[in-house]
Symmetry: C2
């Protein structure tokens, strides 16, 4: 017995043709600890876009109902050799109602409940998910619960990482995002100083509105001065950047080093002894990361991803983080959306170009 429904697939051929389409799929009966979820809402996160479209040319793509055919430029085509020819489901997370379950009692117990889940195939009418990763939503709506995993756990993961590495202050760029707003609330609750870097006055206003103390606007003429002052005030030599490409991280390292050097009593050719650490956790800018030789050798740049972090953090920490998310889903961890689209609407040109822009406060929600 199987359930059929519509689902989005993305396929990149070796010749550079990317096809993203809505197709009918058969969903097998869930087994063991699996559940079958009728999906009701799924956010389009930057991490989904990396798989859905990567760097494909959506401006000049062919659009037909429920289908986009686009060209993938280099080096992204060669860079994703591993997926050439594979028809892949998309959508990290979402929420819906459990309609079938495997024989495992934990899975059975979820039947009929609305849950947040992390199927990896959430842009679909149905999805198979692991019961252990499902969060029963109770009174919270599926739309409110759709983003219960990626952003909340990432924001909490940043604070956990800071603590593990002995920091009490964090620098965050692109800081007015949904994730950035959550991070502000968490840091306020936990007494961690947060330096927010944004690039527009509206974003400054958004963050002021939720009580952020240290906000730096990279479009201001005195950006470096603002950034140094914020770092000096908070002792933030540690941070997270979702932009990846360009000089965002470089500028942050520079400001950190300038603050550290200003406190040194004598010159060292090697720079300050202050260790500076930044994590890149996204690629909003697909260009190369540029690091100039202007802050000595006391820097570390590393990638940060949620799944390896959760594995490293261990079950006890993960359970504690999930409980905190569930308890505060409509407050600290609330998400907001610009538009709701069906699976077909998601593949229309205007919508695709719009949500692919990943602009602050313009997230889309898929309601299949």
């Amino acid at each position: 017995m199987s359930t059929t429904g519509k689902q989005i697939f993305t396929t990149l051929e070796a010749d550079g043709t990317l096809t993203v389409e809505v197709a009918e799929s058969a969903f097998l009966q869930p087994k063991g600890s699996q559940v079958l979820v009728r999906m009701e809402a799924a956010p389009i996160n930057p991490s989904d876009l990396a798989l859905l479209f990567s760097a494909a040319d959506l401006e000049n793509a062919e659009y037909s109902p429920g289908k986009i055919v686009a060209k993938m430029p280099e080096p992204f085509l060669s860079g994703s050799k591993g997926r050439h020819g594979q028809r892949m489901p998309v959508g990290n997370e979402g929420a819906g109602t459990v309609i079938e379950a495997g024989e495992n009692p934990a899975a059975q117990a979820l039947i009929g409940q609305r849950v947040a889940c992390v199927p990896g195939s959430a842009f679909s009418q149905y999805a198979i998910a692991e019961a252990a990763m499902c969060l029963p939503l109770g009174d919270v709506s599926s739309e409110d619960g759709a983003s219960a995993f990626v952003n909340p756990m990432t924001a909490l993961g940043f604070v956990e990482t800071a603590r593990m590495e002995g920091h009490t202050a964090i620098v965050h760029s692109a800081a007015a995002s949904n994730l950035g707003q959550m991070l502000n609330k968490i840091c306020q609750e936990d007494g961690i100083d947060l330096v927010n870097i944004v690039r527009k006055q509206e974003q400054v206003d958004i963050l002021k509105g939720i009580g952020a103390k240290h906000i730096v606007n990279s479009s201001d003429d005195d950006y470096m001065h603002q950034l140094r002052t914020a770092i000096d005030t908070t002792d933030a030599y540690f941070g997270f950047d979702p932009i990846g490409g360009g000089k965002t991280v470089d500028t942050i390292f520079k400001a950190m080093e300038q603050v550290a050097v200003s406190k040194m009593s004598e010159f060292s050719r090697y720079g300050s002894d202050q260790q500076k650490k930044m994590y890149i956790y996204g690629r909003l800018d697909l260009g190369p990361t540029i690091l100039t030789p202007s802050y000595g050798f006391g820097f570390t740049l590393s990638g940060w991803l949620l799944t390896p972090f959760l594995q490293k953090a261990g079950m006890e920490t993960v359970v504690r983080m999930r409980k905190r998310v569930l308890d505060n889903l409509t407050t600290t961890f609330a998400s907001s959306y610009k538009s709701k689209v069906t699976l077909e609407q998601m593949l229309e040109k205007e919508a695709a170009l719009d949500y692919r822009g990943m602009r602050t406060g313009e997230k889309y929600l898929v309601t299949p």
Copy 2:
């Protein structure tokens, strides 16, 4: 009472004028655990050049006997604000005879002995050094002992760092340097696999001559293939790079990731789970470091410097490392030099342009 002698100073003014000159200095009586060393030999290491000349324009400088006046370009002028107007001695390490000592018995015991030392002012006829950092040379000549610290301790430090972080293989670029040759000998002695990246056939030959197993020539057409094969054979996902600028590290990360991905059974949009780590320990290329988005988020790039490493490693490790250096100063840790120069000759145009090139096998030794 004081001893007078000639010494090299480097001064960078805020207007961009760099003056490097030989001047008469008075050396005060050593105190406490200090000794006064009559310097007999000091190598010109890349780390000295960073302070001596930085990025100054030596081609178009004014040369007069014992003096160079050059212009410092941006961003290096602003980047070294901390030294503007300061007249600084130069020369990390060297060897010579202890002629006076402070009242401390360990210092007194060195009087009359030839020692390797790390005064930070070794380009000089005399230098004040810390007794605890002096290595009595016994029968070893001052020329053979002049490079007993920076390169040997750095090469040993790489192997110690690898062990501390759980690695049994190392990638090293610019690998035919004095330091690179030492690293080969250490790795052979310690059973660590070393992937040597060089850019010329002569360098391949040098390393073959000392028994290196994995040598990759970046000038060959199949460089990436060679590099992947060497990484695959050795499992080297960890390494050190003295070049800093450009794409050396990027290429190494790419090759590591390609090897890791080739072993994965299914595609992941986030790349492999294989953690890849590179340390930059020099700036042979003063351009920016370029990191392309082609190896996921499982990478870490960090700076590596000897002094912070030694502090972190602790006294017991440092003592063990120093003993190994002393026991093998004319074998494993032997250095060779292209030319010997006096302090005045060091500031002649032809010499300065030559050693500033930092070419493999063309190191200079200063004999004041």
